[in-house]
């Protein structure tokens, strides 16, 4: 009986594979089937964390954004014994992107707007608060955030918690007392500038970047003195070389990225002043090269009729000197973006064997559907392969780094362009991937969505959206809308994948125990075998997961895994059907993209913490 059932399942799987292969042909984006991709030997995190593996002191766990922990108590052999250890309500019911931090036996949380922070004492049963900090935070900011009032977390350094407020301020809060040390206004709400990203702290500098790519902002990043909050430098992503800080040290790898004032001359007229190119994603830091790496958002408006040219440095990856802000290299991932393919996704700093030799690279899973392996010293693209179904491009030309665009999928090819893949949510969005040096693979939460596109006229009015298009979305080929995959960045091949009914909007965590963790939009938190993708354990949390799991060792010596539950963000809030039923969002046009999601989850705002039970 069991055998017969097993056979039937295999038969189904085989039919499924054939169907998927057929779909793969039409999209031109295929990944290898599971089992044929070898683990990558000799791969390493470029800059593993210097502190204790028991803690989680910064958003990505380390400067490399690896989201990898050396903790190994939880293994494929015992993961079925995972249980909820304790929970905590943040008191906010909006999208909980980001992750908690753990330093010195204390856990630190930051909520979505109004950006309350909590310090939780891990040494005492019942996890009492050490403090709660409620910042002043302009109410109007809520109406200027494009994609829910999210916050992607804090960094802890120099005895302070550093994070950004939605209304455009950066704050430092004393980690011991919860008293505000300083608060600096960085963004201008009147021009639609909010801040949602998680800062990192390098060499005593707090590095922050702006949001507002849908509001006609002019994106920037800045460094603040961690001790005083004073701004040390600010560099714009668009505009003349002086503002962009492109001087004698600026050496882009590709010839099309060179030229005086190219971030101004690649725009018509003065459109660069309202051209977007914000920096709302994850920052990485290379202490050897003394560079901070980050990506920039889409150019604005979405309607390309307003902005001929490459529109640099929108949809680009930039490398800047941490001390001066000087631009050292830049690579435009999607020149003249017309699909809302921001390049803000994380750059994971690793050393990989490449063509037989170790290579210092960054790996970047772009919204445009290509996974890039890039030399992080020069910005040279070593490899770019599709990691999700796509049809807007036939591939990236490694001689120029430019994608070859399918002319039919240009958003100005017709008044209404049908079926562009991936959708504007990208092959992956803010949800960060993780890297394990044990397997040498990347663990990537992905979306499988396509869209139609219709541009319309738009005029710039400060403090209002500057978009000029509508783009209804639908599921991509294959009958699934998300997949959690393991990726070999030396060959550009998928090792295995777990198909999900919804876009995987939460981040990944990899551990030395050989277990990888992620959460889903429909509210499952899963532990997966890093080698074969087998789901070892899952737990239904109170609300969909759009946050990123972290792991730490408690004062009792046990390994814990913590993750936010609280659906929201662009996918959760804007498309979640009835999920936001108490907000007036449930009749929106795009509710049809994820019509059944509201059946499986509802809005929430909880921290869940798991550990192995004692048996």
């Amino acid at each position: 009986m069991i055998t017969a059932l097993g056979f039937r399942l295999s038969a189904f799987a085989a039919i499924g594979s054939v169907l998927l292969a057929a779909c793969g042909k039409q999209t031109s984006a295929t990944a290898d089937s599971a089992g044929s991709v070898a683990q990558v030997r000799g791969a390493s995190i470029a800059f593993p964390r210097s502190g204790s593996a028991d803690e989680w002191p910064m958003p990505g766990g380390d400067y490399s954004n690896s989201r990898y922990s050396e903790l190994a108590q939880i293994t494929p052999a015992n993961a079925t014994r995972l249980r909820a250890a304790w929970t905590f309500s943040t008191g906010v019911l909006r999208g909980h992107e980001g992750q908690p931090l753990v330093v010195d036996k204390t856990m630190y949380l930051v909520t979505p707007y109004p950006n309350v922070s909590y310090a939780i004492d891990l040494t005492t049963e019942g996890q009492p608060l050490k403090w709660k900090f409620r910042p002043e935070n302009a109410q109007a900011a809520q109406g200027l955030a494009c994609c829910d009032v999210v916050n992607r977390g804090a960094s802890l350094a120099n005895g302070a918690l550093f994070y950004n407020l939605l209304d455009g301020h950066t704050v430092a809060v004393d980690a011991a007392t919860g008293v505000q040390r300083w608060k600096t206004q960085m963004g201008d709400l009147q021009r639609g500038e909010t801040i949602t990203m998680a800062p990192i702290v390098a060499k005593g500098k707090v590095l922050v970047g702006s949001s507002g790519g849908e509001m006609g902002v002019r994106g920037w990043i800045a460094a603040l003195d961690a001790a005083s909050g004073k701004q040390l430098w600010r560099a714009y992503n668009l505009g003349p070389d002086k503002d962009v800080k492109a001087g004698t040290r600026f050496k882009p790898f590709y010839s099309q990225d060179r030229g005086t004032d190219i971030a101004m001359t690649s725009w018509p007229g003065e459109s660069w002043k309202i051209g977007g190119g914000a920096a709302w994603g994850w920052f990485s830091y290379d202490p050897d090269l003394n560079l901070v790496f980050y990506g920039t958002s889409n150019p604005g408006p979405w309607n390309v009729a307003h902005r001929t040219g490459d529109n640099k440095w929108s949809a680009s990856i930039l490398a800047r000197d941490v001390d001066t802000g000087e631009l050292v290299w830049a690579f435009q991932v999607t020149p003249h973006d017309m699909w809302d393919y921001d390049a803000v996704n994380e750059n994971i700093l690793v050393n990989l064997p490449f063509d037989g030799a170790p290579r210092k690279v960054m790996v970047h899973f772009d919204r445009n559907g290509f996974a890039y392996t890039i030399d992080r010293a020069t910005g040279q693209v070593l490899l770019a392969k599709p990691y999700v179904p796509m049809n807007w491009s036939t591939g990236v030309d490694l001689a120029t780094g430019r994608p070859n665009v399918n002319p039919e999928k240009r958003t100005n090819a017709a008044p209404k362009v049908k079926n562009i893949c991936p959708s504007l949510e990208g092959g992956k969005n803010q949800q960060p991937a993780a890297f394990s040096p044990a397997t040498g693979w990347f663990y990537v939460p992905t979306n499988n969505l396509c869209m139609d596109w219709e541009s319309r006229e738009v005029s710039y009015i400060a403090g209002t959206p500057y978009i000029g298009a509508s783009a209804p979305e639908m599921g991509g080929p294959g009958g699934y809308k998300g997949e959690f995959i393991a990726w070999d960045a030396t060959t550009g091949r998928k090792a295995w994948g777990i198909k999900e009914p919804y876009p995987v909007w939460g981040g990944a965590l990899a551990t030395a125990g050989g277990v990888v963790f992620y959460g889903t939009l429909d509210g499952w938190f899963k532990a997966v075998d890093a080698i074969n993708g087998k789901v070892l354990w899952k737990f239904k949390v109170g609300s969909g997961v759009v946050g990123n799991p972290v792991t730490y060792k408690g004062p009792d010596g046990k390994q814990y895994v913590a993750v936010y539950s609280g659906i929201g963000g662009d996918m959760g809030l804007l498309i979640a059907g009835d999920v936001a039923a108490n907000l007036p969002y449930d009749v929106r046009e795009r509710g049809s993209t994820l019509p059944e999601l509201a059946k499986w989850t509802s809005w929430g705002g909880m921290l869940f913490v798991f550990s192995l039970d004692e048996k």
């Binding site: 809520q142 109406g143 509508s470 929106r588 795009r590």
Partner: protein, 171 residues
């Protein structure tokens, strides 16, 4: 109700007696305040106003949309809705996006013509811009006409996952 009014009258009378000893300057300010209180254009009557002491806003007058019932105003309003970027916040047909939906009958600040006018002209604290500085009154009224035409009914039903829609019974 009349008893309440009587009681209020007594309180007012007492207050006036107390004011007699004040300077003429204060008295004239009291007169100005009284005049201001009768300035009917400043008030919008909200259906769910709480009336402290059971007393209604006696002198207020409901603002009226001069284009009430004018289909042309709805058409012009729909164009303004796009050209002033309302559409990118509130979604196509008011389906909701960055800002709240306008079609579901759930109004944060009231759905009468005067209330919608007030929301557009003065803005709202959660990020609705105050358009009174940029748009003239007639443009705002045309937007009011359009926005109110989007409403599909009071408290549009939510899904119940049985394939049927049901009346919303509260949150």
């Amino acid at each position: 109700m009349s008893q309440h009014r009587t009681a209020f009258g007594v309180v007012s009378f007492t207050l006036c007696v107390a004011l007699v000893g004040f300077s003429t300057q204060n008295a004239s300010r009291a007169t100005q305040d009284a005049a201001r209180a009768r300035d009917t254009t400043k008030f919008v009557v909200h259906g769910d106003h709480i009336r402290p002491g059971g007393i209604a806003l006696r002198d207020s007058t409901a603002m009226r949309n001069p284009f009430e019932g004018d289909k042309n105003a709805i058409e012009l309003g729909s164009k303004l809705f796009i050209s002033y970027n309302c559409v990118d916040c509130h979604g196509a047909d008011g389906s909701g996006a960055m800002g709240p939906a306008l079609m579901d009958g759930r109004w944060h600040f009231g759905g009468s013509a005067a209330e919608v006018y007030e929301s557009i002209a003065q803005g709202r604290p959660d990020g609705m811009p105050a358009w009174g500085g940029l748009l003239d009154k007639n443009s705002i009224w045309r937007l009011v006409s359009y926005v109110r035409s989007l409403e599909k009914g009071k408290d549009v039903a939510t899904e119940n996952f049985t394939g049927k829609t049901v009346e919303r019974t509260g949150h």
